[in-house]
Amino acid sequence: MAAISKDEMMVCYMSSLIQTGDFVVQGMGTPLVFSAFLLAKETHAREVQFMYTVGNTISEHTESLSITYLEQLTVEGCLKKVKMTEMHCDIVPSLKVKEFIRPAQVDRFGNCNNVVIGDYAKPVIRLPGAGGITDVAAFNPNFHLYVTRHSRQTLVDQVDFCSSVGYGERAEELNRMGIRARGPQKLITDSCVFRFENEGAVLEAIFHGETIENIRENTGFPFDLSENGIIQIEPPSEEQLRILREKIDPLGIRQLELLTGIQRIQKLEHILLEEDKRRRGSA
């Protein structure tokens, strides 16, 4: 069996946070999260119900990941099609939904940035925008953050632009709307897992092969160590890896979240050509 990659460790850990009966939101451009949901459904959480942002559906139906045929996965066999206004303004704030959200930058209070790197008026990189994260962070007590590259560029002392609020000073202003249940719960990176408390991020678990020293070096914000000791996260089981690699995501679509620039484009092209070939093969 091939060596375990970082994306696989993350997927398996995130999968462990899903329980059967959960109602999960699969967002936009996050195949890593999707892999985790599907893995949970294939193993210990068979009764997961999905809200698919692509397709705009509520579904209990799943298939292997795809880029070309993602809508086929989310729409075929769905329970219900909804409008985004219903999904975001009615369902998400009313029901207990679980989500994983990926910020471009995050600080020790769980404040996130998906708007710009650099100065807002003259950005170095314009990012996609806040999406619904601002809102979800304000009213959903049941979501986690994750980043695919543990670095001082991502885990920062101060976000360049705060597009969603965690704890600390900014949360006080948020609380002017009435005390909210809570902010983000955990922050998962490709090295470790923090949990958030009102005082900031607390390291609670590390992936196999990581060290606290290394993590400290690559983290742009200060953090405490969990009082209960740091958990060593078990590597994925062979069964998990088999399901993930062979059934859920044989083309490695989840890895796109870890790639940038030309590497990402090449990987995309490879996947698309492969999907094209498979379709022709089945024709």
Partner: protein
């Protein structure tokens, strides 16, 4: 029988420079690209693009310098990454942005539908969105004493929607990714529906109509009207065309990208047609 059916030129013609355009579809799915390309062809400019998300289709408008202002919560090519023309324009300060979130859009269009100037939302406070959205004021709840941002009403003037099928009255079927198309059509003064096919009135499958005729002003038949974004279940996303877009924008110019777009679209549709006949894409 009165009919709203017309040519794409006729349908797009009444749109005025400077108007706010509601863009139907979502992410890289069922975007009204044929109508967008006609807008570019007719040389409209200074438009505001309004959408729950914006992507490839609006990136084309920015590449063609037709759009000077965007209002969206998420401008992205989804798994394909950042949209090159938009990024370039923003980083050169060549475009105005009104930062939205899903709530500012959702509550804002509900306020517009209701004919009120604002609705409160449980969001934004503490974030820098409020710092840059200087237009958003706060309001105190007369019952709870809580302070909310007062989300301003928002509405498009014209809207583009691509549909699977429509009749001449504008009743239309969207298939998937309903997003906020229904609301955009209802709120706009002028709504154009392009459709893969126009069918006789009364022949759309009962209970499956998404857009109602009463909210539509013009109907246009365009095959492949959302290519290279998808038109589920008629054809899937043409991901390789999006890759070509990213590559061309990296190494060449926007104008170059537009060359032979029509013929690439035709070959994609032809390929899909053959495979649909073989029953390979989706068995319907």
């Amino acid at each position: 029988m009165t009919s709203k059916r017309m040519s794409i030129e006729q349908a797009v013609k009444p749109i005025k420079d400077g108007q706010t355009l509601g863009v139907g579809g979502m992410l890289i799915y069922r975007r009204p690209t044929a109508l967008i390309l006609e807008l570019i062809k007719q040389g409209k400019w200074n438009l505001t693009a309004l959408g729950w998300t914006l992507g490839y289709e609006t990136d084309l408008l920015i590449g063609a310098k037709a759009v000077s202002h965007v209002r969206t919560s998420f401008f992205s090519l989804e798994i394909f990454g950042l949209p090159p023309a938009y990024r370039k324009a923003v980083e050169k300060d060549a475009i105005k942005i009104t930062e939205e979130t899903e709530t500012t859009l959702g509550i804002g269009i509900r306020a517009a539908a209701q004919g009120v100037g604002f609705m409160p939302g449980r969001t934004l406070l503490g974030s820098d969105i409020l710092t840059v959205r200087k237009d958003i004021k706060r309001i105190e709840c007369p019952y709870t004493g809580e302070i909310y941002p007062a989300i301003p009403a928002i509405r498009p003037e014209v809207t583009f929607i691509h549909a699977l099928a429509a009749d001449e009255n504008g009743n239309a079927i969207l298939g998937a990714n309903l997003c906020i198309d229904v609301e955009l059509a209802q709120l706009s003064t002028y709504t154009i529906v392009s459709a893969e096919k126009i069918v006789p009135r009364g022949s759309l499958p009962s209970g499956q109509v998404d857009i109602i005729g009463a909210s539509v002003d013009a109907v246009v038949e365009v095959q492949g009207g959302s290519w290279p974004t998808s038109c589920y279940p008629d054809y899937p996303l043409d991901g390789l065309e999006l890759v070509r877009y990213l590559k061309t924008m990296k190494s060449h110019s926007f104008d170059e990208y537009l060359l032979e777009l029509e013929s690439r679209k035709r070959s994609f549709l032809l390929k899909m047609d053959e495979e649909v006949n073989d029953g390979s894409y989706l068995e319907r």
